[in-house]
């Protein structure tokens, strides 16, 4: 089984096509939509948690690629600017998935990007604005 959080960019020509449906029907993949919208450039953006058998998962990703969907792991899109972060911990109680936690010994804030669902709540709450989203 593979379970990954990925960001899909749908070009304008694909926005009206039922692509995610195919992932379920043809590749037996489970999905959880974490975020979806159409950008002002009429490009579709979707953040998905995708789960399935290894073989199916890889074929599904291949299918998405063949349609022209750009795929990226979510961890590349939500990042912490280490130079800006002061490790205060203001983000910690705001994060709904405990992706931001404070280490009890070092008192430094850890960002577990595999837990992040890109809700972006931390972005504006961070006093030095160290959390960045690059979709």
């Amino acid at each position: 089984m593979i379970s990954k959080r990925i960001v899909l960019h749908f070009p304008h020509r694909l926005v009206d096509q039922p692509i995610v449906y195919k992932l379920v029907k043809d590749y037996d993949l489970q999905f959880n939509i974490l975020k979806a919208y159409v950008t002002p450039q009429e490009e579709g953006l979707m953040v998905l948690e995708l789960v399935g058998e290894d073989d199916n998962f890889n074929k599904g990703i291949e299918y998405l690629g063949s349609c022209g969907v750009k795929i990226q792991p979510l961890s590349q899109d939500v990042i912490r600017n280490e130079a800006k972060c002061t490790d205060c911990g203001a983000c910690v109680p705001i994060c709904p998935t405990n992706a931001l936690v404070i280490d009890p010994l070092t008192r430094k804030v850890h960002f577990y990007d595999n837990k992040c669902i890109a809700c972006e709540l931390c972005v504006k709450v961070c006093p030095p604005r160290a959390m960045e989203v690059h979709f």
Partner: protein, 406 residues
């Protein structure tokens, strides 16, 4: 036991025993206060939290022909600076905002840039745009000026924070049904989180609760450079209730601090945006406490478990000025990540960076060990718990809005 003069002689010889405010706790536990006081000469503290009463003043030098900024208008990267001084002296506060910032018109406002950010950029050595309009005089004929300035070219650039280094602070919570945005961060509804803002056992004034060694004139680590305690800070409030160990149970003493901005570092002066509230500046401060006797060590060895503070509702009580605490917690509980309020398990968040406070205490220790930083005798004491110095609310007097004398 020992005097500051004796400690300084040891520092010069490289023989002083310097420990951080964390290490001294462990030492006192292991060896007892008496023995620890015999061994330790200096305890270094640190804090790194946002403080809105931070600011800086500058003398930008005279241009040709001369311009009188005093009484005119002055912008630094579009952020207004105060001009009510002589011709080329200006002052900038951390919370100042560009005139065209939407503030909270689009709620909650983002407050992306303001005085705190300008101060950080200047300290980073970046050029900042100065824009002046003035009325022109016989001796200062110029009426407009637009130029880039750099901190290295200024005559004086001085950080002057009229309140800093709070001795303890509230824990902020929200009892209402909607999220609120405060200077204590975003507070989720119905006790969704509890935010605190103190370095606790590392915080300077909590380790010298009766201001026995910290006073006016004390040399400090300020923003990565050297600074001094200039005065008691605004809202200094030494008479709040204290525990048997002498530690204030609510926000108490404060310091006004001053230092040469030119030798400070941008990682210790960080411009900050508080969502829905405004702009501020995070300031790194460290104070070295001389261990003069067993008493100063006993206070310096106080730990998070022994430092208590009040839980305050920021949806109703704080904004309306209604006194009342929802309970008392200590910093060990706050740092555990969860506290219990009204039977509810509430996650905690911190606005003050403990890991940076630790770095500051460590850096100050290195300065002292290298002999670069000698301790100072205070020139005068801060008003203490026995004084009649208090923090009063405003006395409002009705004004006849129809005009004329009432």
């Amino acid at each position: 036991m020992r005097t500051i003069k004796e400690i300084n002689q040891k520092i010069k010889k490289g023989e002083a025993i310097v420990v951080t405010a964390e290490e001294v706790i462990e030492l006192a536990r292991k060896k007892g206060v008496k023995q620890a006081a015999r061994e330790v000469d200096v305890v270094t503290t640190g804090t790194f939290g946002p403080m809105c009463s931070s600011g800086a003043y500058f003398n930008v030098g005279h241009c040709k022909p001369r311009i009188k900024i005093g009484g005119g208008t002055c912008l630094l990267n579009d952020v207004p600076a105060y001009t009510g001084f002589a011709a080329v002296d200006i002052s900038l506060g951390a919370t100042a905002l560009p005139d065209d910032d939407p503030r909270n018109k689009v709620y909650p406002g983002e407050f992306k840039y303001g005085g705190g950010h300008v101060i950080q950029e200047l300290v980073s050595g970046k050029d900042v745009r100065l824009e002046v309009t003035s009325y022109g005089t016989d001796c200062y004929p110029r009426k407009k000026l637009e130029t880039y300035i750099n901190i290295n070219d200024l005559n004086e650039a001085v950080l002057f924070n009229i309140r800093n280094c709070y001795q303890n602070y509230n824990v902020a919570v929200n009892l209402s049904d909607k999220i609120i945005y405060t200077y204590m961060g975003a507070l989720k509804p119905r006790l969704g989180n509890a935010n605190y803002c103190s370095a606790g056992q590392l915080s300077p004034l909590l380790k010298d609760p009766y201001y026995k060694t910290i006073g006016i004139g004390t040399k400090i680590f300020l923003g990565g450079g050297i600074g001094y305690v200039a005065w008691q800070g605004t809202q200094h409030n030494p008479k709040v209730p204290r525990k048997a160990n002498g530690i204030p149970q609510a926000p108490a003493g404060t310091l006004a601090v001053i230092g040469d901005l030119k030798q400070m570092k941008p990682q210790w002066l960080v411009g900050t945006s508080m969502l829905g509230y405004g702009v501020t500046l995070i300031v790194g401060i460290g104070v070295a406490i001389p261990i003069l006797d067993e008493e100063t060590l006993k206070y310096a060895a106080v730990s998070d478990e022994e430092i208590y503070t009040q839980i305050i509702d920021y949806s109703q009580n704080y904004p309306q000025g209604i006194p009342g605490s929802l309970g008392e917690v200590n910093y060990a509980q706050l740092k555990s990540g969860n506290i219990t309020i009204q039977g509810k398990d509430v996650p905690t968040g911190s606005l003050s960076s403990y890991s940076k406070a630790r770095e500051i205490a460590e850096e100050l220790r290195v300065w002292i060990k290298k002999g670069d930083f000698l301790l100072t005798e205070p020139v005068a004491p801060l008003p203490g718990a026995e004084s009649d110095y208090t923090f009063k609310p405003m006395k409002e007097k009705p004004v006849n809005l129809q005009g004329g004398l009432s």
